[in-house]
């Protein structure tokens, strides 16, 4: 591989940081800020595409920062799993950015610059990229901190009393999990004298089984909190819905999936399971059922979606719990689909709230007549999330179910729960459909607090906001249309995760 190619994994991290720096310098020219943000994320998406193709054709692309070879130096690794998720995440971030720019123009006017929004958006993207690409535990910790620090700013900007309370829960829980993360990294280093993931996967084999289990469980808890795994999910439905629509969509699409990716990476590479992992299957059952039941009980459309987000994390945990190549492949495909569909649904919810002026389902109605475009934009991702054929959700769920059914009695039973949770999801979304789109048109509710960013600008919705949402719907449909080649790639990614040797050889130069 050429020199440029081996340096390519650094670009998705460094370019957004450069973009953030430039948009701070250009703080007074909002047009330049917009261009910088769009160009940066567009370039990162292109780089992610190249990385995916390269990783699929000729194995993981590894960068040793500063030329210091791992395990001593820091390595950035783009294999099939991380490159695929990086590509999907960046596309979603780009679409949400278009939506956000258009909303800001509509609500604040064309000339209003921001010294926080664009820089923090780009810093968050840099953190997400670094999390996907980092080849060692400590860099993973740093990437989570970059990501979370930016998210603290985005969730508490232009705060009201209500949003600051929600923000405090989010910040406190995130700080706590970061503290646990750092402790776990310290313990791993104390036990093995390395934080490089590839090196670690070799060295943990010398540890006693008890110690190994404790370390593995530490990481399950850390990433479980961040990925909103039941019973560690309590903070998510309270915090996400209180942010502005684009921010919620970004968080819902990216942050929990990055945490799931980190769990997937550590639990397959460092602490692998030969047989189905009973504990993780139980977590999956609890997450799917409690999330879906919580969604059924909600009247607030954003809270409902937040509970569905939690519920569908359980589907991915199920794939991880099955622990064979097909289960992991299904989980990867599901994560890619889930990033797109959840972001889309939150953007659509933002569009709905702009029309109705309220998040309460019982105060909306008749949108099918007044805004048929919105109905189409809601219906497609809703069917995708529920997993109705022929959508991407169906394809991903089918893979998970097949993997579960072939893996023994326990996973088969959980596969039945997957179907039950899908029906509950469908029920919750049909409730939204009936309340919001059917019935008599309800009058627009006045914004109680025009100063906060929630529900602002109920009068106008510029077309780029629809276009960005529609773009995400198209991405989601493309995942369904190209499900064949895509599941070939995720299938190879699943085999990589089980085999582990490819990753080790790419990073360390020998499987040892």
């Amino acid at each position: 591989m050429s020199d440029v190619m081996t340096s390519l994994p650094t670009l998705p991290v460094l370019l957004p940081i450069l973009g953030a720096a430039l948009s701070v310098v250009l703080g007074t020219s909002v047009a330049a800020q917009r261009v910088v943000a769009l160009v940066t994320l567009g370039t990162v998406a292109a780089v992610a595409g190249v990385l995916l193709v390269t990783a699929d054709r000729s194995g993981p692309v590894v960068t040793a920062l500063g030329g210091w070879a791992p395990p001593v130096g820091i390595a950035l690794v783009a294999d099939r799993l991380s490159a695929l998720l990086l590509l999907v995440s960046t596309l979603v971030a780009l679409a949400v950015l278009v939506y956000a720019i258009s909303q800001r123009i509509a609500d604040y006017g064309r000339g209003v610059a921001s010294s926080t929004f664009y820089p923090m958006y780009l810093v968050l993207s840099a953190g997400v990229s670094l999390a996907y690409l980092s080849g060692d535990l400590f860099t993973l910790f740093v990437s989570f901190e970059i990501m979370l620090t930016a998210s603290y700013v985005l969730i508490t900007r232009r705060t009201t009393t209500r949003t600051i309370r929600a923000g405090m829960t989010y910040v406190t829980v995130s700080l706590l999990s970061s503290l646990l993360f750092l402790t776990a990294v310290g313990m791993v280093y104390a036990a093995t004298a390395t934080v490089n993931l590839a090196d670690l996967s070799v060295r943990v084999q010398t540890l006693s089984p008890g110690l190994r289990t404790v370390l593995a469980l530490m990481f399950v808890v850390v990433f479980g909190i961040k990925a909103a795994m039941v019973p560690l999910h309590f903070w998510l439905p309270d915090s996400y819905p209180n942010a502005p629509a684009p921010v919620t969509a970004l968080f819902a699409g990216l942050l929990t999936k990055v945490s799931f990716y980190a769990m997937l990476r550590t639990q397959t590479l460092v602490f692998p399971h030969d047989r189905p992992w009973t504990l993780m299957l139980w977590f999956a059952v609890a997450t799917m059922i409690i999330g879906a039941l919580g969604a059924v009980a909600q009247n607030d459309i954003n809270r409902l979606l937040a509970f569905l987000l939690v519920s569908h994390i359980g589907f991915m945990l199920f794939g991880l719990g099955v622990s064979d190549a097909r289960g992991l492949s299904g989980a990867t495909l599901y994560a890619a689909h889930h990033i797109t569909v959840l972001a889309t649904l939150f953007l659509v919810s933002g569009l709905i709230v702009r029309r109705t002026g309220t998040v309460a389902l019982d105060r909306m109605g008749g949108l099918l007549k007044t805004s048929p475009a919105l109905a189409v934009l809601f219906a497609i991702p809703a069917m995708t999330l529920a997993g109705l054929p022929p959508t991407a959700g169906f394809v991903a769920k089918l893979q998970l179910l097949q993997a579960g059914a072939d893996a023994g009695v326990g996973p088969t039973a959980v596969a039945a729960v997957v179907i039950l949770a899908s029906f509950l999801t469908l029920y919750a979304l049909v409730r939204v459909w009936v309340r919001v789109f059917w019935g008599l048109p309800a009058p627009t509710v006045e914004d109680p607090d025009p100063d906060d960013e929630l529900g602002v600008g109920t009068a106008r919705t510029p077309w780029p906001m629809y276009a960005a949402t529609a773009g995400l719907v198209v991405v989601s449909l493309a995942i369904a249309a190209f499900a064949g080649p895509l599941s070939v790639v995720t299938g190879r990614a699943g085999e990589d995760l089980v085999a582990r040797d490819g990753y080790r050889v790419a990073v360390l130069g020998s499987p040892r």
Binding site: D3, L18, A21, L65, A113, S115
Partner: protein, 198 residues
């Protein structure tokens, strides 16, 4: 009001919304984001009784020395204790000292550059330094040692990571100045608004 005007939380808003008090607040805090504003200078003097002359005089004498020391730390950082981060903190502390002694009235501590610009420029320099080795076919973040012939001084060895440190140096100074603005001038403004003596 120019369309470029922004309030400290980063959002441009209409003045009646962001300023709840009846009389318009004319302190620079409101317009810190506007370029070329002397943000540490409120345009009025502290009550003479509250001045601490000794501290004020000492800090003015120490100010240049501390700044020179910070640059020494920046340059020596590659081989000895120091580096961009600690040098930036030391330089920032020089401004903190001026602020503690003179409050926001000290004309010597007037900054005409916006702190966020300082941060942005610093970060840009650092990232570009990290990316430059790619142009020479070397790994990202790789360093090289250059020898520069300077008249009178002879050959000087410059490690390219110095540029990264310079970026960090500017970034940290920017952060400290921004903290001074938000937690120093900002609190003073709130106290003034509440009618408390400063």
């Amino acid at each position: 009001m120019s369309p470029l005007h922004s309030t400290p939380d980063g959002e441009g808003t209409d003045p009646p919304r962001s300023v709840p008090t009846s009389e318009p607040d004319t302190t620079p805090f409101e317009s810190w984001d506007r370029p070329r504003t002397a943000w540490l200078l409120p345009g009025r003097c502290r009550t003479p009784r509250r001045r601490t002359l000794l501290l004020e005089a000492t800090s003015r004498a120490l100010f240049p020395t501390i700044l020179v020391f910070s640059i020494y730390l920046l340059l020596v950082g590659h081989y000895g204790p120091g580096g961009g981060f600690s040098a930036g903190l030391v330089a920032g502390l020089a401004f903190v000292l001026r602020y503690l002694a003179g409050g926001s009235t000290d004309p010597g501590a007037v900054i005409t550059i916006r702190p966020p610009v300082l941060m942005g420029v610093g970060l840009t320099i650092s990232v570009l330094t990290a990316l430059t080795p790619m142009l020479f076919g070397a790994p990202v973040l790789a360093t090289a040692k250059l020898t520069v012939r300077v008249p009178l001084l002879g050959d000087l060895g410059v490690v390219t990571s110095l540029f990264l440190d310079v970026g960090v140096y500017l970034l940290i100074i920017g952060v400290v100045l921004d903290l001074l603005r938000a937690l120093g001038s900002g609190i003073e403004r709130d106290m003034r608004a509440a009618g408390e003596p400063i």
